[in-house]
Structure formats: C-alpha cells, structure tokens
C-alpha cells in the first residue's frame, strides 16, 4: 500500500529529494491560472506596457487635475483678458482671436497651449479637466453596460424557457434601435426632466450621469447576447452539474460557478467599450447634446474650435490629439489583453 503510493509518485524511481523537487516544479507549472498566464504575456508585450503607461498617465491627469492646473495657475473657467504684463491676450477688433503664438493660438510661457478665442480661457487647463469628463462618463457607462449585460445574459442563458425568449426579444429590440440617434435624442430629454425625476436641476453633473446611463443602457444588449451563448454551453458542463447535485441553488451556481468562467470575455468587452464610450461622449458633447458650458469637455472644445479652424487651427488640434491618443491607447491595450487571453485569436 505504502509502497504503491510512493511508486506512483516517482514513476522514474528517482531519489526522494529529487522527486520532491520535481513535483513541486510540476505543480507550479500546472497551477498557473489563465489569469496568471495572461498577465505574464501582457508584461512581455511592449505595446501593452506602453499603452498601459499612457493610460495610467491619463488617469493620473484626471485625478490630479486641480493640482496640475494649480501649477499653471489658470482655473479652467477663468476668462483671461491680459497676460502677466497687462498686455491684452485677445484681439478684440478681430472677433477675439488670440494675439501671438504659433498660428494665432496665443501659446506662450504662461498659456502653454494657448487660450480660447473670444473668452481667453486657458486651453491647457480645459484639456486637463476634459480628461475627467471623458474618463468618468466612459467608466460609468461601461460599468452599467457590463453589469446589465452580464446579469441579463446569465439569467437568460441559465433559466432558458420563457425568461430567455422574453429577454432575447428585448435584446433584439434594443439592438434595432438607431443607437446614436436615440442616445442623442434622449440625453437632453432626461436632463431636462432632472428636476422632476431626481430633484437635481439640469447641470453638468446630472448630464454626466445621464450620459453614463443612456450609453450603458444601449450598450448591454450585445454583451448579453454573447454571455447568454456562453452560459448556454457552460451550464451543461460537469462542474456545474456537480455543484447542482450537491444542492447548490441557482444564485450560487450562476455567481460562483459560471461567472468566473466569463471573466475573460467581460475583460475583453470592457476594453472595447471604454474607448468607444470616450468617443461617444466626445461626439455627443460635440453635437451639443452632451456636456454643456462651462464644464470643459474635449467634444465641446472641438465643436467650439471648429468655428475658428481658419484663424486658430491649433485650438482644434489639441483636444483632437488628446482624444485620439486616449482612444488609441485603450484600443492597443484592449488588443493586447485579447491576445494575452486567447493567443490563437491573433492580432486581427
């Protein structure tokens, strides 16, 4: 009996010390979870590391916006008419185009990225504060979409039957909505009702909340479909059956047995949603239905700058570049995460 066991543990009949080391090593290799493998791959991926650093910097800028703006000394909402020497910043006779700087941008050692035409607000400060709006709306919308999509998809796939039919039809309907058009039409409507619905007047805090909600509400259906498909196959697997035969209730099976297996999918979908919501927020604010003055938002800045494209193109360039770099960094990281979780999929 004892002999049999020890033989089985060291099939090659090596010394006890050797075989102990062998199994310990083997255990370590076997024991690596998908998450650990993916993490190791990500750390080796130079693009992933670079884009993660860029994203961390952007998040840092958003968190420490008030501090950063203190260094430069111009609050984002302050109308600057004169510089430190008392010379005017804006050419009042010319419609308020900034004086001096590259291409009429008013860039100087005081105003690093120039000033806004007409109002003279500092472009750098507004850009820094715009990061907050972009990231907050995108994160909020993503969380709502992921939570709704996961829960509804899991319920639909796990319980099947009538529940599934109803929820699947709901997904069909939401996917048939002209998404951008509807978000565009609905955001001001809900924001207008702020006082009646939530007791909050129509301000930009409310508008950010509404944007998150509307984006999230129209974003869950696609994820729910994917989750539903995966749960349909996961629920037939042996470990689920085992849990059920031990008397586990549906809530336990769904959240403790099935949910962990969905994490790679959710992670990939999250990295896809964040940049698309950053773009959506900018687009909606650009169209005038998202964030309003005086809060700084990249989309609003681009809209405002489009009126000055001939006289001050740099005013358009800065928020445009900020938006592009942010979206690119998130997309690159998203691609790397997908590759790390499923190397077979390839960088496609």
């Amino acid at each position: 009996m004892t002999l049999g066991v020890s033989e089985a543990q060291s099939p090659e009949g090596g010394l006890p010390a050797d075989h102990l080391a062998d199994t310990a090593e083997a255990k370590q290799i076997e024991g690596r979870s998908l998450g650990q493998i993916a993490w190791a791959r990500l750390k080796k991926d130079k693009i992933a590391v670079a884009s993660a650093i860029v994203i961390l910097i952007i998040i840092g800028v958003a968190i420490f916006a008030p501090l950063i703006v203190k260094i430069n000394g111009f609050p984002p909402d302050q109308f600057n008419k004169v510089d430190a020497n008392g010379d005017p910043l804006l050419n009042t006779r010319d419609g308020g185009i900034p004086i001096g700087g590259l291409w009429g941008s008013g860039m100087s050692s005081e105003h690093w990225l120039g000033v806004e035409p007409q109002n003279g607000r500092d472009v750098f400060s507004r850009l820094v504060y715009g990061t907050r709006v972009s990231l907050l709306v995108a994160l909020g919308g993503t969380i709502i979409a992921i939570v709704l999509g996961t829960v509804i998809g899991m319920v639909s796939g796990y319980f099947r039957g009538t529940v599934d039919t109803l929820l699947s039809r709901l997904m069909d309907i939401i996917l048939s909505f002209p998404y951008l058009l509807f978000v565009m039409a609905l955001t001001p409507v809900i924001a207008d009702r702020g006082q009646d619905l939530f007791g909050i007047p129509d301000n930009n805090t409310l508008r950010m909340g509404v944007l998150m909600f509307v984006l999230g509400f129209f974003g869950w259906a696609y994820l729910a479909r994917i989750v539903r498909g995966q749960v349909l196959s996961l629920r037939e697997r042996e470990f689920v059956e085992a849990a059920r035969s031990l008397g586990a209730g549906p809530a336990y099976v769904i959240f403790r047995q099935i949910l962990p297996n969905l994490i790679p999918t959710l992670l990939v979908y999250t990295t896809l949603l964040i940049p698309s919501y950053i773009t959506a927020e900018a687009a909606l604010s650009f169209l005038g239905v998202g964030i309003k003055e005086p809060t700084a938002s990249w989309g609003r800045m681009i809209d405002d700058a489009s009126d000055w494209i001939e006289s001050n193109p740099l005013y358009l360039f800065f928020p445009g570049t900020a938006l592009f770099i942010t979206v690119l960094a998130f997309n690159l990281l998203g691609d790397s995460v997908r590759d790390a979780l499923d190397p077979r999929a390839g960088r496609s």
């Binding site: 048939s176 909505f177 009702r193 773009t279 687009a283 592009f324």
Partner: protein
C-alpha cells in the same frame, strides 16, 4: 422559405411597433410645453388653448398615441386641426414640425437623398479598401504588408470621426484650398454635374468610411486566415487549381460571408443619418435634421427620424438574413 419570410415580416412589424411605442411615450413625457413652442412669442392663454385643441395635446397620452399611429398605418393619412379648420396630413403622417409647421415626412424625404449618397458612397469606399487591405494582409501574413495593414487598421479604428473629419477639412479645404468650403445647400448630382458632386462628397465619404474600412480590414484578414487553413483549400490546391482560383473562388467567397451580414447592418444604420459627418461638412441630410430637431425640441421631427432610421435597421436585418441563405448553402431558413 415563404413561411419563413412571413414570420420574419411579422416579427419586424412587431419590433417596429414596440420601438414606436417606446419612442412615443419616452419623448412625449418631456416637460417642454409643445403649445408654447408652436405659438412662440405670440403665446397667451387663448392661443395656447387653441394650439392644444388643434394638435390634441389635451387628450390623454394614449389617445394621442392612437392618433399618431393612425397617421402611420392609415393609407389615407389623417387630419390635423379642429373641426372647420382641418388640413390633411397625407400618409405617412409623422405630424407637423413644431418649429415651422412643415409636415415631418416632407423634411425627411427632402433630407434623405443627401444621406443616401453619403452612406452609399462611403460604403463603396470602405468595402473596397477594407476587403482589399484585409485580403492582402491575410495572404502576406506576418510580412511587412500585413503589419502595415494591421497598423493602418488600428489607427483607423482609433481615429474618432470628429477628429479625422476636421483633419481632412482643415488640410484639403482650409490649407490646400483644393476644395471650396462646403455650403449648406446639398449638391444634387443632376443639378450640379458629376465634378462638383464628387467634390462635394469626397471628403465626407472618406471621413465616414475610415472607421468602417479599418474594421472591415481586421474582419476580412481574420476570416481569410481562418478560411485559408481549411481542408477544402488544401484539396483545391491538391486538385491543381491555380492560386487565383483557390484564393478568390474558394477562399474569399467563404471569408466574405460573415462580412455581408455586418455590411448590411452597417449600411442600414447609416441610412438613418450619419450625424457627425453631416454636421462637420454641413450636409443637410437626415443626421443634420435629427440633431437640429433635438436641439430645438421639435418632438414630431425627432420621432419621425428615429422611426425612419429604425425601419432601415430592421429591414436591413431581414435582407441580410435572406441573403445569407443564398450565399451560404449551409444556412437553411426555417
């Protein structure tokens, strides 16, 4: 096939009805007093009461919804106004604009051609370049051409339309002066001639096509790489078929099948209005109509555009499903 079609059509009607109901009730519960919007500066209690009676704003919401739906379903349209001063709103009646009293359907049909040309032109561009780049990348997998295509696609996906559109506008219109500044009037092919028409649409087409071209490059590449690893491709080569036949007749045809689905849905979505591109280049299409009506609280116009756009999405869904069965013999409609 026939039964499938009927079932799908019924489903479509149901989905459209649900969308219309949701849209109606969501938008009609707004605080904006429609009567106040319509009479504008001349508002007093009397005129407001008159406007309310004319448009039926005093009726319960459900009655208003019934009236609205009647205008959409009844081939004869419906009447607007109180007895004695009624006017006909011909089918399909989406009501009248609060801003200028024009029937919404007239605004929609006036704006549609611009959106149609914008969307279809861009679709041709992105389909051609997306599939071409994706195909080349897949055939030269791992080589520099592949890396270049993948890089271009990644940049394209990450270029927000508002940034890319203004970049084009600034470069070609403001700096290089190759193209005159877009005026708000839409260029119709038959009135301005092909040269001016192309000049009007070329930048909007590129702007709109970029993101889609990038997505289609990625998709074609991934599908094509999968397909070329299939057994039947090896069989085709073993039979001694030329590489051209293998790639185009056996490989590309199979790889493009999923792309047909997505293409239909994308084009269907855009026919309801390409809001951002239209806004950047001042094209007075459906997208511009919708954003203008949203900004001016013009509920009938918003409703009209949303429903009109939803029809395209839903119809595109059916067409794609049917097409799919023709392209891919493994799919059986049932």
């Amino acid at each position: 096939m026939g039964r499938y079609l009927i079932r799908r059509l019924l489903q479509t009607v149901l989905i459209l009805w649900v969308i219309s109901a949701i849209t109606f009730f969501l938008f009609w519960v707004t605080p904006a007093n429609p009567a106040l919007l319509i009479c504008g500066k001349n508002c007093n209690t009397e005129t407001i009461a008159q406007v309310n009676a004319t448009y039926g704003f005093d009726d319960p919401l459900i009655v208003q919804y019934g009236t609205y739906m009647k205008g959409l379903v009844n081939p004869g349209g419906r009447m607007i106004g109180t007895e004695g001063s009624e006017r006909k709103c011909p089918w399909p009646c989406f009501g009248e604009s609060y801003q200028n009293g024009v029937p919404v359907w007239d605004s929609i049909s006036e704006a549609f051609p611009a959106t149609f040309w914008l969307a279809t032109g861009a679709a041709v561009l992105w389909l051609f370049f997306g599939v071409l780049l994706g195909l080349l990348a897949a055939l030269r997998k791992g080589k520099w051409l592949d890396k270049l295509s993948v890089g271009i696609a990644l940049f394209g996906v990450s270029f927000p339309t508002i940034v890319f559109g203004y970049l084009l506008l600034f470069t070609f219109i403001v700096k290089l002066n190759w193209i005159p500044f877009p005026d708000t009037a839409n260029a119709a092919l038959f009135t301005v001639g092909p040269a001016k028409w192309l000049q009007f649409y070329i930048l909007p087409w590129i702007t709109l096509a970029l993101v889609f071209a990038a997505l289609y490059t990625r998709l074609t590449r991934a599908n094509m790489i999968d397909t070329m690893n299939e057994d039947y491709i090896r069989t085709a080569r073993a039979k001694g078929l030329g590489e051209g036949t293998v790639v185009f007749k056996h490989g590309l045809r199979a790889a493009l099948t999923p792309i047909v689905t997505i293409f239909g849905l994308d084009l269907g979505g855009l026919l309801g209005g390409a809001v951002i591109t239209e806004q950047i280049f001042s094209i007075t299409g459906l997208g511009k109509l919708s954003i203008d009506s949203v900004l001016s609280n013009d509920l009938p116009a918003i409703m009209g555009v949303v429903l009109f756009a939803a029809v395209f999405v839903v119809v595109a869904n059916i067409i794609v499903d049917i097409l799919y069965a023709f392209i891919d013999p493994r799919v059986r409609l049932s």
